[in-house]
């Protein structure tokens, strides 16, 4: 058995508590596999009672900067979240020659590139397996299973809250607001669910995935996003009839010309696709590459224990590297920034649900405008007719986003159109 590896823990919230619990319950196995004991030597937590509730001695407590610079710490585990002090402390830790493990998606999405460059300079490890898909092995496989391959697309269901809500809406026809309230009651959604619902959380994760997949750094500002607020049970019903399931997908694609598409939005996914079987709070990432073809990694996208395990997997990897003097052995390959395709130029099929007076000439008028804008119709059907109004559902062939948006702007003011309650992108190529 080798010498101990000493951890400095920043933050004893939900995730930090998972790390502490597993470390305590599984100490012996962890020591065997890490090649020596893994012990907690310093903890920073402004609310001391949180640390005490985990049974941590007050002797371990120090302020954040003292933890990351302590000579008694080999590896810093950052569980504060957000950018604020996390960025400053991670930077100081790396500069002090410590390896850093973090589940912090916002930090890595916004500042991963600068931190990875610093990590390379100091030849330490910066690992963030838990930042996407919490308990699912994703980051390590993408970095270590695919180095000889070329990943062409990565599609993810990477937000459990929205997937839970959409699953509720699909199974029982529950309206959005009610499904959201249920998710909050179950603890699957925050009291302020904006970041999840709007696609922001998924956009952070997509930035991380796309940067690794395509080997060029994708800035989170470059990820276009649209949330699930406007999805109506009527849309889900229509999707079902057309052979699709609606999922909030994080989509990264590398085009032939080297540019990348990165977008988060509700997507109609063909029913035969494995991603449609990912329900509730589960997450999954679907990777397509030149040599391997299609791979899907599925599992729990949240929770203190799955997240804690992923963090400790990283810690043990770092411990093995420390034992061999081999930190920094996996290079970070983002030498340049990705050239992101503007949303207008992305290519998708589109679904449009439209309400119109139930009288002759309506279909023709709309179809004409679509045609004038270069939008080709795949299918159209009239779904309901109530009180003199008909609901007409259109699905277009894949085409540039710009053409479809222009067509919508031209259709909306037509006399024959009462309302266009929703449009949703369709992934016909899956």
């Amino acid at each position: 058995m080798g010498p101990s590896v000493r951890l400095g823990l920043l933050g004893c919230g939900v995730v930090g508590s998972g790390v502490v619990r597993i470390l305590r319950e599984n100490a012996e196995m962890i020591a065997t596999r890490a090649g020596g004991p893994v012990v907690l030597t310093r903890v920073a937590e402004p609310q001391c009672e949180k640390a005490r509730a985990l049974g941590l001695s007050d002797d371990l407590l120090a302020d954040g900067m003292a933890v990351v610079t302590s000579p008694d710490v080999d590896v810093v585990v950052e569980c504060i979240g957000g950018v604020g002090p996390a960025r400053e402390l991670a930077t100081a830790a790396i500069q002090a020659g410590k390896s850093v493990v973090t589940p912090n998606k916002e930090l890595i999405a916004k500042h991963g590139n600068e931190l990875l460059a610093l990590a390379d300079t100091h030849a330490i490890d910066l690992r963030f397996e838990a930042s996407v898909g919490a308990g699912i092995p994703i980051i390590r496989p993408m970095k270590e299973h695919y180095p000889a391959d070329s990943i062409t697309s990565v599609l993810g269901i990477v937000n459990g809250t929205t997937n839970y809500i959409l699953t509720m809406m699909s199974g029982r026809g529950t309206p959005f607001a009610e499904a959201l309230a249920d998710a909050q009651a179950q603890g699957y959604a925050e009291p302020d669910p904006t970041s999840d619902i709007s696609g922001n959380d998924a956009a952070y994760k997509l930035g991380i995935l796309a940067s690794i997949a395509f080997g060029r750094s994708v800035s989170v500002e470059g990820v276009s996003r649209e949330g699930i607020e406007r999805i109506h049970p009527r849309d889900i019903e229509a999707a079902d009839e057309l052979g699709y399931v609606i999922k909030l997908l994080a989509i990264g694609k590398r085009r032939e010309d080297g540019r990348v598409e990165v977008r988060v939005h509700p997507t109609m996914v063909p029913k035969h696709h494995p991603l449609t079987a990912v329900n509730g709070v589960a997450n999954a990432v679907f990777i397509t590459s030149k040599y391997t073809g299609d791979v899907m990694l599925y599992g729990p996208g949240a929770g203190p224990l799955p997240t804690g395990n992923a963090i400790l997997g990283d810690v043990i990897e770092v411990a093995r590297n420390l034992r061999c003097g081999a930190t920094g052995r996996v290079p970070h390959v983002c030498a340049s920034s990705a050239d992101v395709v503007p949303l207008d130029e992305t290519v998708c099929g589109h679904y449009m649900r439209l309400v119109a007076p139930d009288r002759p000439g309506v279909l023709g008028a709309i179809a004409t405008v679509l045609g004038q804008n270069g939008v080709s119709i795949d299918s159209v059907y009239q779904k309901h007719a109530e009180g003199g109004q008909a609901e007409i559902v259109w699905v277009t062939h894949p085409g540039p986003e710009r053409n479809f948006r222009q067509a919508i702007e031209a259709i909306r003011p037509l006399d024959v159109v009462a309302d266009i309650p929703n449009t949703i992108r369709v992934e016909t190529t899956l």
Copy 2:
């Protein structure tokens, strides 16, 4: 850019050709990610024309023993298959201080433990990512994502041939023999398909998975196995009506008492389970652990390019380790042998399809014998009645295998029983 890593390739068959192709097409990216060029310096292939067909120069050719002991070789890639010379050459390579990468499931299942011990002694890497699930990241996640966790079960669809046949039989009611012929015509089944059909191939893979999952070596002889030869379209239809899909599962479970169950057999899997969506030649492994819960890894289970990519992922990992002088950094933790639960003592639900004269008293007579043997009935229904004979389908609650087998032996000779065409285990706990 660091110095070159020099490969010695054993075997230029289907898999070896995939390695050569990717290495040639993707040389630049591989060099970037490996920290230096990866070059082929020696090749052993008794049929020279195979090597020539890959565009390899005759200068590279040498006999196997010369390749593995050559001072010009850092890493040996063993693509011969089987035990025969592969074992001897892998042993010699390790003894000569070379790291070894192999997709050879039979070699690892039968002799992995002795080779891993030798690898530890010589502090080199022995990697075998492609040995299970070819292109799917499985071995590395199991070794590197779960070191802090305790895996309690691992369930795999790890044989593409049988999964293709069962998928054909399910979708179209094709009889077994016809589906097998189709698989052979498509190149998904060997001319002699025995090893796949009988569950032997899956048993090798389960031995490897269970050894890693439970940290104790599982000998391949300890894996009980049953093939898919006796599955009839009638069974698939009955399973469907009962809410199940029939899959050839490789099942490894760790019991509370530390003993393990390892068995390969056709299994009725509840329809809601993600494994039922794994169709055709796709493979998947479903891992359940104490902290992480359920994870599924899905992808291509065969093919020269997915396999070649997985092999090169291992090679690049070894190259990174060589650069840091850190080979042997991931320890092999099977310090002892697993205590395998005899099949008789394993616990399962059972499905039984039985043909009997269509007259009063039959159900009662059979139910009585089941009860006498301690087998509890979950459901029973009479499916067809033709020519005075009825087909009765039974599903039992989970119970010891021994009780069920004893009941079957007592039921078979009963006057009221014409035939028991099939019995299939049911995984009710999924």
